[in-house]
């Protein structure tokens, strides 16, 4: 990547159609939507946060996307999931499906909670956000495979994955699984909630796919030295 070209930084003029362009000069800083960080008094900040604050006073900041809010219900992981589920730019539909999924998760768990005997009640998790995050974590693979060419042949080499890649793979598997292996009459949110609950208790097809990837990586251990990074 080119070094930050601060000299060529033009003053911002409004355009006809206001659009958050994805290519910004690296000089621009990321926006921070969370309210709690702005309410913290001076004393509680670490040195890095103090530096960041000073930098924000002088540097320009990128525009936020339409889907970021400063409300307590804003969740970057959920937003990412909604974007991945979206087709043909229909974000409202995708977000509606996610809301219905969370509601149906909560309904199933609350029903189980109320029918359970007193001793078992504390073990049942009713918070759909907690279930979603935990299920996604259970689906994230630890190690991945990369196709590396050596001597004319391509080998599947076990390779460490970044956090973003792991999260992406978990979400991708979840969504493809729900789209493909679904009965014609079941709705997406119903199937998604079933898969998420299964992933939360470490069962289900997505977990199986993760385990298969791990087994492949284990079986190809011999080629691990082909990796040079």
């Amino acid at each position: 990547m080119a070094a930050p070209i601060t000299g060529l930084l033009k003053p911002w003029t409004p355009r006809l159609f206001l659009v958050r362009w994805s290519r910004y000069n690296p000089y621009y800083l990321e926006p921070e939507p969370r309210k709690e960080l702005y309410n913290m008094p001076e004393t509680e900040l670490t040195t890095e946060q103090k530096e960041e604050r000073e930098l924000k006073a002088v540097r320009p900041i990128k525009a936020t996307t339409n889907s970021t809010t400063s409300s307590v219900f804003n969740d970057p992981v959920l937003s990412k999931f909604v974007n991945m589920m979206m087709r043909d730019g229909e974000k409202i539909l995708a977000r509606g499906i996610l809301t219905q999924t969370l509601e149906s998760l909560k309904r199933k768990q609350v029903e189980k909670y109320h029918k359970a005997p007193q001793g078992k009640k504390a073990e049942i998790e009713c918070n759909p956000y907690a279930i979603f995050h935990q299920a996604l974590e259970n689906c994230m693979p630890v190690i991945g495979l990369a196709s590396i060419q050596k001597g004319g042949k391509f080998y599947q080499v076990p390779v460490p994955l970044t956090d973003n890649r792991r999260r992406f793979l978990a979400m991708k598997w979840m969504i493809t699984e729900c789209r493909d292996n679904k009965n014609r009459r079941t709705l997406m949110y119903e199937k998604l909630s079933q898969e998420l609950l299964a992933a939360y208790s470490k069962e289900g097809n997505v977990i199986k796919r993760k385990h298969e990837l791990h087994k492949m990586a284990e079986s190809n251990r011999a080629y691990a030295h082909y990796r040079w990074w």
Binding site: V72, F73, K106, R107, V110, E111, H114, N127, P128, Y129
Partner: protein
């Protein structure tokens, strides 16, 4: 905003007090106000143990009472709104909030004179404000008092999406709807089991050359016939309504009973239908047997009961979505038929009712966001749901 100032303080106190009450088991003594006067003043307790609608009063406004499970299955096989049924399944109990319109209706029913012609009550209000639930509360009261309840859960379903339309055998220009009629008869049978053997028919009904129901046979036989012989079920419905209308007028000796006709979505009786005849011309509501018989029930020419109706824009056909007043939804013809009636307005939640609803959901573990104890999610819910009961 006063809301911001009121809610946090009261809410934290409320939650602490409610936990105390539930924990120490003195939740069962909620009616004994004299024993804990200080607690009553400060706490907004959201549940009451008074489960009988006849004993409820303004003291219980905003509080939830539990519908016994047996009553849920017998009185409301088909009456409750779909979202509420889902809620009952999730929470494993059915709790209804005691609200002012329902209490008002019940007080009118208590004070009415049943030797005079039937009084007609009309519940109206904005969408999602709780008309159907108020109707169900009143039906629960009528059932516990031993009335015979004729509950039509949604009259809109009878004027649209009809899969089978048969020409009526009784009257050539009318049309029958066998499926809807037989479904309704089945649910009627579940609700009013005890009356089926007691009421005897006053007239002989002939269905075909070989089948007839004799005079003096119990109502249960007629209803069973209607359920099994689907083709003549609409006429059976008409016969049942006629019999009940005639017999409700009796005095309250051993045989007498009071009749409550509860119709949800009464504006469909005078609107238009989406049902078409075979030559694609639309069917007017009068030409449907079920609607024709229902209209006869609503006329106030019978004694010994009451007609409780609800207006509904949600399922109605060809009416603007902003209409909710009786004149707009009933139309000229409907208003003239219903006139004179007692209008009962149903409004959205007040602050106290909203708080009660919030506490109920907290108690049932429905509000799961980690900040549920603090201030901001509650104001979010308050603002976004606009205090409309449907969105709560």
């Amino acid at each position: 905003m006063t809301l911001h100032r009121l809610f946090p303080l009261r809410l934290r106190q409320t939650i602490a007090q409610v936990r105390l009450l539930h924990g120490s088991g003195c939740g069962h003594q909620l009616e004994e106000v004299a024993m804990e006067p200080e607690l009553r003043k400060e706490t907004s307790v959201f549940r009451t143990q008074v489960n009988d609608p006849a004993c409820q009063s303004e003291r219980h406004l905003g509080q939830y009472y539990t519908l016994p499970t047996s009553h849920l299955h017998t009185i409301f096989p088909h009456g409750l709104p779909a979202r509420y049924q889902q809620q009952v399944k999730t929470f494993n109990e059915g709790c209804v909030m005691v609200r002012q319109p329902a209490l008002e209706l019940i007080s009118y029913l208590k004070a009415a004179d049943y030797s005079k012609p039937a009084v007609r009550y009309l519940l109206y209000g904005l969408k999602g404000s709780g008309k159907t639930m108020s109707l169900c509360h009143t039906i629960h009261y009528c059932s516990t008092q031993g009335w015979l309840v004729l509950h039509i859960p949604d009259a809109h379903l009878w004027v649209k999406n009809c899969k089978e339309l048969l020409p009526s055998s009784y009257h050539t220009s009318r049309f029958d709807q066998p499926i809807e009629a037989s479904n309704w008869l089945r649910n009627f049978r579940t609700t009013n089991e005890r009356f089926l053997s007691k009421i005897k028919l006053r007239q002989r009904y002939t269905w075909t050359k070989r089948e007839s129901t004799e005079k003096g046979s119990p109502l249960g036989e007629l209803v069973d016939m209607g359920v099994s012989r689907v083709k003549s079920s609409s006429d059976v419905v008409g016969a049942v309504l006629k019999e009940l209308r005639l017999q409700a007028a009796e005095t309250e000796e051993s045989e007498g009973f009071r009749l409550a006709v509860a119709i949800d979505g009464v504006n469909s009786l005078w609107g238009r239908t989406t049902i078409k005849k075979e030559d694609k011309s639309p069917v007017a509501p009068e030409e449907l047997t079920l609607i024709h018989n229902l209209r006869k029930m609503i006329d106030n020419n019978w004694c010994g009961g009451a007609v409780i109706a609800t207006l509904s824009q949600t399922g109605s056909l060809y009416s603007p979505s902003s209409a909710y007043l009786p004149k707009e939804l009933l139309g000229e013809e409907g208003f003239d038929s219903m006139d004179p009636f007692i209008p009962v307005p149903v409004s959205n939640y007040s602050e106290k009712e909203f708080e009660s609803c919030y506490l109920y959901y907290l108690d049932r573990h429905w509000l799961q966001h980690p900040h549920s104890e603090s201030h901001s999610p509650q104001t979010c819910i308050l603002v976004w749901s606009f205090l409309i009961p449907y969105f709560n």
